[in-house]
Amino acid sequence: MNHLAPALKSDPKSFMARLKSPRTQETIWSTLFVLPMVVMILLFTVYPNYRSVVIAFYNWSGFGKAEQFVGFRHFVDLIKDPWFWNAFRHSLQYTVVLVPVQLGLALILAVVLNNPRLRLRTFYRTLYFLPYVCNAAISAVVFNMLFRSFTKPLSALFGINPPVNPIGSAQLAMWTVIVFGIWASFGINFVMFLSAIQSVPTDLYDAARVDGANWLQEIIHVTLPSIRPLATVMIFFATLGSLGVFTEVLVLTGGGPYYASDVVQLYIYSKAFGISGSMGGSISTGNMGFASAASLVMNLLVLGVTGIFYLARRKKEN
């Protein structure tokens, strides 16, 4: 609304006239209309980000005022805490394994199910999207029950001898979480790839066929380049989402056994509210200050990943 300012100075009459002009009226209306959203963004996105920076320098249990200023101590403690890096390593492992496997699988199945001669396409599509429709926290409860109660038959089914409990073993717990993560959110990536492939113009395929391309060449030279922009966005969001993995771990393993599947978001949660583990863990007072410091460090690490991603993409475009 900076164009109002000079009018105000020069002549009050022309200011009133301008105020009544349709263009100014529209600006006033639009300001009014975006106001609720802007207030929400300020209150629930901008302020919390600012505030978590401030809290990170205090000791604070979450009740009353945060008065004890501790400077950078939380940051030093955090960086020295091997459990934080343990959790960070798991978040990274989750992301580095899940993103390529899940997206690769989704892409392959989307290509296969795009074949119009394949019968039962709708049927398969419906099944594959099903886990995404269901709340991951509840699905994880079902998997937790299966793993806890039926270690023996499940091991036998997959030919594992002696039987291993996939969530009770320190070596397997994190891998089980990853497999569950792939299972739970595979559907959305599959559907997005499928719709992207279906919207590739058919004349591109016709042209390729005229040039004598076989089905594999069609996929490599027509399908893949056409869906690359979408794939980039999907990789980005999958990476962000995976680095923030929480629900799957909390419900499936609670971060255990003995922190073997602890992830950063769970680490922050337990430090903030003083709850360790999900299944009836011990409760002590949390330190919001320390948890905020951990959030901030993780936020910076994630922003770093975002930055690398952005730069890599720009370099490719140039």
Binding site: E26, V34, I41, S52, R125, T126, V142, M145, T247, A291
Partner: protein, 292 residues
């Protein structure tokens, strides 16, 4: 696939054709994957009708050995507040959907159709904020909810869920509203409509397709959210939505296996049924959002 043409015409006429074999293998693989997607839910639903003894004797079979224990549903319903959780989930998801549909369309209309001088600045800022990682600011969020006296109410969950996701939905609606033909809006202006009337009678009805997509996306997003409601309802059982209530129930009754399965079924079966009957709309909504 086209590889059929490589083979001689009479190849395998009386025996197994290699192309047929490949097709069979593909179908078997697809079926196995589909089975893995469905099996946990079948087992869950079947187990909700088993007795505690059958839970172990029936193992991985989704069928109860003897009579179906409908009693489990009554017990679960009484033991945990599943009716309350269900109502909470519906209120939160419906509330958040309406919230986003109203404030999101209002903001999108303002920037896309009224096109104020700050359009570019606002769109740029929103796009930038979308890339900020979410979920790491839960502590100040918790604090501000308290400050606004929204803690201990479902409204707090609705507001936080909606406010932290509104940028994403506004951008989708904005992208759609930019494609509305200008002439329709201009006609309304000539007829003397003010901005509110242009929003309500022109832009909103014309945006119906994107509104159903955004509505479904938000409803599902809210229904499946776990982290925000978990933190915002810590220590208040009456406010828990299904996912959080289920988690608490499992922590408290982790060996009442069949009851846990019953609770999970109460939570999931309605949404699965709605999905099966409306699967085309679900998949189109999710696929359509990415085109925005």
């Amino acid at each position: 696939m086209t590889s059929t043409s490589v083979l001689p015409k009479n190849f395998g006429r009386y025996s197994f054709n290699s192309a047929q074999f490949i097709r069979l293998m593909i179908n078997v693989t697809l079926l196995v994957i589909g089975f893995l997607d469905v099996f946990p839910f079948l087992w869950m639903f079947g187990t909700s009708f088993k007795t505690n003894a059958e839970y172990f004797t029936q193992g991985l079979s989704p069928f109860p050995g003897g009579a179906w224990q409908f009693q489990n549903y009554i017990t679960a319903w009484e033991k945990a507040n599943f009716s309350q959780y269900f109502v909470n989930s519906v209120i939160i998801s419906a509330g958040s959907t309406l919230y986003i549909l109203f404030f999101g369309t209002l903001a999108a209309f303002a920037i896309a159709v009224l096109r104020p001088p700050f359009e570019k600045f606002l769109v740029g800022t929103i796009a930038l904020l979308m890339f900020l990682p979410h979920g790491y600011t839960i502590i100040p969020l918790f604090e501000i909810v308290k400050l606004l006296h929204l803690n201990n109410s479902l409204l707090g969950v609705i507001v936080v869920q909606s406010a932290t996701s509104i940028t994403f939905y506004t951008m989708i609606i904005y992208g759609f509203m930019r494609t509305i033909p200008k002439e329709l809006d201009e006609a309304a202006v000539i007829d003397g409509a003010n901005a509110w009337q242009r929003y309500l009678h022109v832009a909103l009805p014309l945006s119906a397709p994107v509104l159903s997509t955004v509505g479904l996306l938000r409803f599902m997003g809210s229904w499946n959210d776990f982290f925000m409601p978990l933190v915002l309802t810590l220590g208040n059982d009456k406010l828990r939505p299904l996912a959080v209530g289920m988690q608490a129930f499992y922590s408290a009754h982790s060996t009442s296996w069949t009851l846990v399965a019953t609770g999970a079924s109460i939570s999931l079966v309605p949404i699965i049924l709605i999905y099966i009957f409306m699967q085309r709309y679900f998949i189109e909504a999710f696929a359509g959002a990415m085109k925005g």
